[in-house]
């Protein structure tokens, strides 16, 4: 029978806590699923104004860019948990991969990778406020410029239908359950 002394037991507990506590703290920073919304906007200079469906982000688009027309090309919504990303098939053969990493102080840290086909075009680690917006742009599409608006946030509870709620649900192959509406 192995005799365990009090000192050895205390040392084992201290060692266990020293190892487990940081991991526990780290694990606590990841909560439930993160809702990721992606809107693909086509900016052109055709003087048609703002697409009605883009009204919630219209002022930001007009402040940030200088196109006379903004049209919603596709809308995607998916959920992702920390450490497990979700992917969205975007117009023009682009794929957007979003992987939340942790949620803390009402901010969401995540990795965003934009693929052109299978080739990674850009990888970035960003920290967004809950329901904050990040725009990716620069890709030509049709007769204009494609602007990708990425919004991440904790799922709204009790708010039936956010402003950008999609109508059509079409899961993509690479994501757990994103919904897609393509114009």
């Amino acid at each position: 029978m192995i005799e365990v002394t009090a000192t050895a037991r205390t040392a084992a507990i201290v060692f266990f806590l020293a190892i487990v506590t940081p991991a526990f703290i780290a694990a606590q920073t990841c909560g439930g699923p993160i809702e990721v919304k992606v809107q693909c906007v086509l900016g052109t200079d055709t003087n048609l104004g703002l697409d009605e469906r883009l009204r919630p982000i219209g002022s930001r688009l007009q402040r940030l860019f200088r196109y006379s027309t903004y049209r919603l090309v596709s809308y995607h919504k998916g959920h992702a948990i920390c450490g497990q990303g979700t992917a969205f098939d975007l117009p023009g053969g682009r794929v957007l991969h979003v992987e939340p990493q942790d949620v803390r102080d009402d901010t969401i840290r995540m990795q965003v990778v934009l693929f052109q086909g299978e080739k990674p075009l850009m990888t970035t680690d960003v920290k967004l406020l809950n329901h904050g917006l990040l725009f990716l742009g620069g890709s030509r599409y049709e007769q204009g410029m494609l602007i990708i608006a990425i919004e991440a946030g904790l799922p709204d509870t009790g708010s039936p239908g956010s402003k950008n709620s999609p109508v059509l649900i079409k899961p993509t192959s690479a994501s757990p359950s994103p919904s897609t509406k393509t114009e």
């Binding site: 002022s59 402040r63 075009l121 990888t123 680690d125 917006l133 620069g138 890709s139």
Partner: protein, 192 residues
């Protein structure tokens, strides 16, 4: 040759074997020729024996046990008892284990802090000025992000890493709109 008065003073020590060798020789030579001093020495020896006989030797049986018993029953102040316990404790193992645990904890915390280090707030432009990719100087593939004083204090997107296969990229933020743009000009050359 020494006189009797001098030798008599040394007889007690002579008998007890406490004299130096020269004095022993001196006393012994004198005694060989002086009967009176020899008698005096005999009286000293006899007196010593009588004194030893008169005073009984104390009994030491159980003496150590009795002393230890009294020590054990003597009241010792708490502070002194604690100090003795601390002083007698073998600290090597606990100190080694605690040090190892602290080192492991510090390493874990350091790793945690490095992995989740504060990101850098990008504010290439704080207005709605359009920045074209061509306007940005050529950058390495992994873009060096500028340091900023206030990290995310105004709600912008905070970018801690930005890598792209494109040669040029523009990043700017609009604080009033709480938005940040990463502009990847499609017509920019790629490295590969």
């Amino acid at each position: 040759m020494a006189d009797c008065a001098e030798v008599v003073r040394l007889l007690g020590a002579f008998r007890d074997g406490e004299l130096e060798s020269e004095q022993v020789e001196l006393v012994a030579r004198h005694l060989a020729h002086c009967a009176q001093c020899e008698r005096t020495l005999g009286e000293i020896c006899r007196l010593g024996e009588e004194l030893r006989a008169a005073v009984g030797e104390p009994c030491l049986e159980g003496f150590v046990e009795r002393v230890m018993s009294r020590i054990e029953h003597t009241y010792v102040p708490l502070r002194l008892r604690l100090w003795r316990r601390i002083a007698s404790f073998d600290w090597r193992l606990p100190v080694a284990v605690t040090s190892a645990s602290l080192a492991a904890a510090l390493a874990s915390v350091a790793a945690f802090m490095v992995l989740t280090r504060p990101a850098v707030d990008l504010r290439f432009a704080s207005s709605s000025t359009f920045v074209r990719g061509e306007d940005i100087a050529e950058q390495p593939r992994a873009f060096q992000l500028p340091q900023a004083g206030e990290i995310g204090s105004r709600g912008q997107v905070v970018i801690s890493r930005l890598e792209t296969s494109l040669r040029h990229v523009a990043v700017w933020s609009e604080p009033e709109a709480n938005t940040t743009v990463i502009w990847l000009p499609e017509d920019a050359e790629t490295d590969d």
